[in-house]
Amino acid sequence: MNIQFKKGVLEICVLAVLAHKDCYGYELVGEISKRIDISEGTIYPLLRRLKDEGYVTTYLQESVEGPPRKYYRLTENGRNEEHEQKDEWMRFATSVNALLDGKDDTAN
């Protein structure tokens, strides 16, 4: 999929994954690139922006193998943002899908 808006939806994908569980960077990148083909390197700058905006916080946690890993966790603000963006996306996707299917059903 080679379209400009792919990067734009990355933010909501990251928020959605973190809404399920706290992740370390590599894990988060894996969750997302499993489904979407992206340049994985751009997730880290995105995480820093989300941290600046107060949507996520980070903490270090020991791992069984090797040194501690940096985990990302959604803040209360981040949770609200996730809900909002998700609702917006769902409504948008429903409308686009209806158009693509050629359905004549505009009642909602």
């Binding site: 080679n2 400009q4 734009g8 933010e11 751009t42 040194p67």
Partner: protein
């Protein structure tokens, strides 16, 4: 050019961002990528494979740089900072020539015209005011007003209008500055890197 090793990847990031980001932030960013390589390798992946999945470090550097400069312009409002932020954002993609550069030039030109008009009105108004007074006192060597008293009021009006334009230009500049920062932030999150094809 595709990078083969972790060392190369980290070096490109470091070279591009040294002196732009504060050292502490740069170290933190580099440690994120080191951790990525470390865990990837522990999972049996090669450095080459990890590099190719990460994509271009230049793109990452450009994005981090633009984000940092926009944030800096947000915290310390100055022409210089917003200029740097706009230039850094321009580098993110060809799209931005149209979506950042063009609106920026139009806004700067608009504000320049408003300020210039304000200054012109204020200067000419003040000069006319001084001349009217001289004419009333009978010192002026020639008359520009038929009624110097009306000239006083008229020139005060012109001067006030000029000052008003300058003040309005100032508020307008501040408004566009804030709006511009929000737009640049949004833009960075949406515009895809130049070397990311696929």
């Amino acid at each position: 050019m595709t990078l083969q090793t972790e060392q190369e990847y980290i070096r490109v990031l470091k070279n591009r961002l040294e002196g732009v980001l504060p050292q502490e932030e740069l170290d933190d960013l580099l440690s994120d990528y080191s951790e990525h390589f470390r865990i990837g390798k522990a999972n049996g992946r090669t450095e080459e494979d990890l590099c190719s999945s990460l994509g271009s470090p230049e793109d990452v550097a450009r994005e981090v740089r633009a984000t940092h400069l926009v944030r800096k312009a947000e915290h310390t409002c100055s022409c210089r900072n917003i200029f740097h932020a706009v230039i850094a954002t321009l580098g993110l993609g060809l799209f931005n020539l149209v979506f950042v550069l063009v609106p920026f030039i139009i806004l700067v030109a608009l504000l320049a015209v408003i300020f210039l008009l304000g200054v012109v009105f204020a200067v000419f108004g003040s000069a006319a005011f001084v001349f009217s007074i001289l004419q009333i006192l009978g010192i002026a060597s020639f008359a520009i007003w038929q009624s110097p008293a009306a000239g006083v009021f008229f020139s005060i009006g012109i001067t006030s209008f000029g000052l008003l334009l300058i003040v309005a230009g100032f508020y307008l500049a501040r408004f566009f500055y804030r709006l511009g920062i929000r737009y640049l932030k949004w833009n960075i999150g949406v515009i895809r890197g130049t070397e990311d094809i696929g």
